[in-house]
């Protein structure tokens, strides 16, 4: 921890990493609250994995066809939005089984990504960074983009808090009150997609669901309103990303994985008393 603090003062890349962790932590708490209360973690996982398709295509065009401006992050954004809108549209229109569609999208996105990344020089290293994140590689321009995404997520959730809550709690009633349910369902999915992209740069595609689910799940145990759950989950999110970065730095562990293990450890510790109580009361 001492090494981390000493180097934090010295190295810009570490300061960037810390800032990225904080920005991502805020988003994961806010959006994670909706993902958890609406029970759409599987959908969020599907969007996260489909993102690899967009990343792969963007990276390929950038490296092989010289489209320098096409940052993989743009590809990730496009893929996340496209998959969120696709799922939202299908679940609103057709009576298709949603989980089947999400599974297909999940795998197809990854397949597209793998094919394009395999055609791009620097294959292995790239792939590992996207799948598991590398917060130490976040640059200054990335930070601005992350901050922008954070602001967008915050504005939507604060501005439409009441209607998003009503549509999530009782869509039939909200609809009868003249609230455009389809619009707000899709808006929420877009916000989820945005934040998934935000979080991927910190913990990577594979670990994103945990960062969306765990802080919100912990916060849900101690709060009984959406906004307080969002606030506590954000604090926890920031604590986990910062703590994960600090803990992983000196021993050279992967920061994303350490963050997730830290979060999961706290979650389990908090579950333990209740689980033990349940056991003794059953034993009586």
């Amino acid at each position: 921890m001492g090494v981390f603090l000493a180097d934090l003062a010295k190295y810009e890349f570490l300061q960037h990493a810390l800032a990225a962790g904080v920005l991502a932590g805020v988003a994961c708490g806010i959006v994670g609250t909706w993902v958890v209360t609406r029970r759409i973690t599987y959908l969020a996982g599907g969007i996260a994995h489909a993102v690899l398709g967009g990343v792969g295509v963007a990276r390929y065009l950038q490296k092989v066809h010289g489209l320098e401006w096409l940052d993989p992050l743009y590809g990730a954004l496009a893929a996340a939005m496209a998959s969120a809108l696709l799922i939202g549209w299908v679940s609103l229109r057709a009576r298709e089984r949603e989980d089947t569609l999400i599974s297909a999208m999940w795998a197809v996105g990854m397949a597209v990504g793998l094919v394009f990344i395999s055609r791009t020089p620097g294959y292995g290293e790239d792939l590992m960074n996207y799948l598991f994140g590398n917060i130490l590689l976040v640059g200054k321009s990335d930070l601005w983009l992350l901050a922008g995404l954070d602001v967008a997520v915050l504005m939507v959730v604060i501005g439409y808090y009441n209607r998003l809550a009503a549509v999530s709690f009782d869509p039939e009633f909200a609809g009868l009150r003249g609230v455009n349910i389809a619009f707000f369902q899709l808006l929420l999915l877009c916000v989820v997609a945005l934040s998934v992209v935000l979080l991927i740069s910190v913990v990577g595609i594979v670990l994103v669901i945990a960062l969306l689910a765990i802080p919100a799940a912990i916060a849900g145990r101690f709060t009984r309103r959406l906004w307080s759950m969002m606030a506590l989950a954000s604090l926890l999110g920031v604590a986990f990303t910062t703590g994960g970065l600090a803990l992983s730095y000196a021993p050279g562990l992967p920061a994303g994985a350490t963050t997730i293990l830290l979060a999961a450890g706290v979650y389990l510790l908090l579950q333990l008393p209740a689980a033990l109580r349940g056991r003794t009361s059953r034993g009586d």
């Binding site: 209360t37 029970r39 604060i158 501005g159 439409y160 808090y161 009441n162 209607r163 809550a165 009503a166 999530s168 709690f169 009782d170 039939e172 009633f173 909200a174 009868l176 009150r177 003249g178 609230v179 455009n180 619009f183 849900g220 709060t223 009984r224 309103r225 959406l226 759950m229």
Partner: protein, 257 residues
Amino acid sequence: MNKVLIELDRVCFSYPDSRGQRGAPVLREVSFSVHRGEFICVVGPNGGGKSTLLKLLLGLERPDTGTVRLFGDEPELSCPRIGYLPQNPQFDPLFPVTVLDVVLMGRLKAGLLPGHYRAADREAARHALAAVSMVDSAAKNFAELSGGQRQRVLIARMIATEPELLLLDEPTSHLDIQAERELYELLHRLNERLTIMLVSHDLMIVSGFVDRVMCVKGSVDIHDTQDVSEKLVGELYGGDMRLVVHTGHEHDHGGRD
């Protein structure tokens, strides 16, 4: 006072089958009108079309033929003036909302402009909670409440929308007798300024405060409450006759003694 609030003219309705074709008719040639300030009890056998009738009034379903008018308008345009309590509303018991949050949802505005509840909205929500004697529970988690309390909170949410017409679909099906009686007394008080249509699975409700009984069995007949006889009940329910006549008797005794 005698203004017509609901008017159906020769309405026919059927649900589409799995291939999208129109199935057997649920409602046939239904015409009736409901006046402002009435308390109407809707009865009829399961599958007779009671809930379908409410959906037509709410604009959730459209008639195959015929017209539905509320407040002289299309049902879709009248929705904001209607308070609707669905049968068996399903809620995620883990969803983090307080009682006050739920009632405030009655103050939602249509449109896409961002916005928050105002002091007047909170005031209206508290008034609505007071009307159902639930003010003390305002800060409680909605999921912690009993079935009867939840029902009252949902009615408070309905009141908070400041409706002119209440549509309730079997609101007592999960309530104990005490909660049921309290609900009817509450509705009776609300009926002083609101028009009420209540779907009921029993005829216990057919007592002092119901003006007319609407029998829905594919077709719709309306009777004044005092004309509801055992013969009518028998016609309406067919095979279930004994059970229903029995409850009817109980009611009759209670009414005369």
